[in-house]
Subunit: 468 residues, 2 copies
Amino acid sequence: METISRTKIVDLCRSKEFGTIVNVKGWVRTRRGNKQVNFIALNDGSTINNMQIVVDLAQFEEDMLKSITTGACISVNGILTESQGKGQSVEIQAKEIEIYGSADPQTYPLQKKGHSMEFLREIAHLRPRTNTFGAVFRMRHNMAIAIHKFFHDRGFFYFHTPIITASDCEGAGQMFQVTTMNLYDLKKDEKGSINYDNDFFGKQASLTVSGQLEAELAAMALGAVYTFGPTFRAENSNTPRHLAEFWMIEPEVAFNEIGENMQLAEEFIKYCVQWALDNCKDDLQFLNDMFDKGLIERLQSVVATEFKRLTYTEGIKILENAMSSGHNFEFPVYWGVDLAAEHERYLVEEYFKRPVILTDYPKEIKSFYMKQNDDGKTVRAMDVLFPKIGEIIGGSQREENYDKLVTRAKEMGVPDKDIWWYLDTRRFGTAPHSGFGLGFERLLLFVTGMTNIRDVIPFPRTPKNAEF
Amino acid sequence: METISRTKIVDLCRSKEFGTIVNVKGWVRTRRGNKQVNFIALNDGSTINNMQIVVDLAQFEEDMLKSITTGACISVNGILTESQGKGQSVEIQAKEIEIYGSADPQTYPLQKKGHSMEFLREIAHLRPRTNTFGAVFRMRHNMAIAIHKFFHDRGFFYFHTPIITASDCEGAGQMFQVTTMNLYDLKKDEKGSINYDNDFFGKQASLTVSGQLEAELAAMALGAVYTFGPTFRAENSNTPRHLAEFWMIEPEVAFNEIGENMQLAEEFIKYCVQWALDNCKDDLQFLNDMFDKGLIERLQSVVATEFKRLTYTEGIKILENAMSSGHNFEFPVYWGVDLAAEHERYLVEEYFKRPVILTDYPKEIKSFYMKQNDDGKTVRAMDVLFPKIGEIIGGSQREENYDKLVTRAKEMGVPDKDIWWYLDTRRFGTAPHSGFGLGFERLLLFVTGMTNIRDVIPFPRTPKNAEF
């Protein structure tokens, strides 16, 4: 076969150079036709759109053509032609075909369409070859790029906080232990405690649940930073909203107070959603048509609307009024309660009909590091609540006063000795600062319209599941 | 104090709006002066350059000024003025000063200059406040941005491979075990084996040593992908070149053969180095002046030179000739040996005097997944060797033939059952493909001129060290 430099399908679809000879390579989605002509739908992953390969059967050996079944990988030289058919503007009249790899129709799992999402999770190594997961993972890429671009353009520095950590201060959830000890021969001291001198780090170590505290250290030096890395929760939650391993983005900004923090969060998420609308048109259209007819409209509405800001206390009043007017909530509503999903969705979807930023939560339901308000009861926390998703961002202004921070840490059972380095930032050149965390997969659920978080990460880790 | 919106120092340094009132916030590096005037060098992390704050002592209270010591955080309103002094083009004539946080000179560890790198590692939570680490971490950010931009612009998709994995197929090194089992109460089966049914994932799980195999799955669907995430090695190596936790970039491209893989690697690394030269001028100049007088010249030389390509076999001949001519190597040289750093450096620094790409290594010293050459002895591996750093990139064309791959995996002791999903890509629509891995911290050593890998990652994890 003649060697012609390959062109990606995403580029061929935009090409107008009809009549030129091109090379295209990819995986066969379908082959159909009659006794004279076959049509191969070829996909190379660069776009959701397939390239139609027109095969004049008289020009090719029958045996070779038999191998061109769904899933096979082929290389085609042919003439780029304006398409007469529906659904595509260009097609390729095949001149030469080389088969790189066949896919036995008896055993290849991705025959035709209509597999359940559950089945596709079991073959997570092959599901990126489907339209749905191709679209989702191209969008995942695009959201990551949007995130880096947003922060880089604004002078933030990407900062890698540690994955393995010897401290558990955030208290964000149960942790995975990391060890190199031989579990068949654990050394113990005279009291019967495991002797971690023998472990790799010389002490008990775990996987991080959040990079925030380390990001604060960096913000107190570089001014504005963000993390974007994996975080871990060892919670035994088998739900469509929980992963044991997920990616999180945590910006942290020196000198920002809560108002600027809200502004940043709103700009940030609108930027990401707008990026999806601008750069993922075909994938979005597919997901909109196949899974969620309201998807594109919902994205457009979020970027066009100003987020509603109100305090937790005001939110509780609205919910209490709703109850008085006969609205039924499953979970109780009173000042001090941690809002349930139904409460958040009422505020966002029914009452304000737009994203909501709730602030100034009761200190009892928030973390030790949040800045205490003068009322003695609330802290400068903020949660960004979204339609369908609920909480998509959680953040706060941080307590910059050393004494207040130490006192609150003590009250909440965080030992000084574990956070001496964190406290140092308040001992030496402390400053107001704020930040927030965005669960990357939460953002992806929102922009893709997927409903199970296992379907927006390539290889989900959940209880009893670490395959691939 | 009047509220004026803050301007970052990096922007003020470029400003020509002399006479306007601005607000600047940051950390005091030094304060000096006489009885009439003080000069504060203020840094906010946005740039290595300090802003000079000119303080007319008559206008401020003495008590307040006493708190302005090294490390204190202050906010200054003042008039932007063309500087008469050396070393800066603008300065600020202070009108109002607010102290956010003092830094007790008796206890603040970062007094003046001249701390050892070892000492600074012990206060890794504060070292980003130094010129050196500010420069290094801004460059770390810039290299991450360059990497994403390079791949995004070329139609690659960023792909998150799993961090926790139940398979150890790469054989790249010792792994950290991840568990939620109670180590004081390990359940065992009748044979005395630990019963991993009770563990979070229902089987033994570890931290990944490489995302390559999963990236290959993605490349066989999306065409061109790259990873950029943390990887882990539990090797008990206390050297300036080893970290237990480090970040790796692994592009993987369907249809690329070894030649295109080399081309990609060369373009990629030149792009990153050029980005550093273009976007990190001040930080690079500082590191060049303080640590490594040849740094900028070395970076310029790499982007200007074509990398030398030769086979391992040719490389061995050159080394053998060098020995015949009287060159002494500590380690032996013969066909089949794994090259030592001294051999690589001879080829790069003495013989060719430019970066070298060595290919076609003996199969015995390379991994099972590399494409076997027809000679039966070598595989299509490639290592990119750099001055000072040695191997900066390792990669290969992958074996796409199912039978050859299975046979080689068996020979090298990789059990089929652990890689059924990897083998599936060769059963269904296999295709030629190639990829490589770049250790992010190796790249950073090269572009920053730092000599210890612990100084290019914010919080290094090494044996007995997981603080912060």
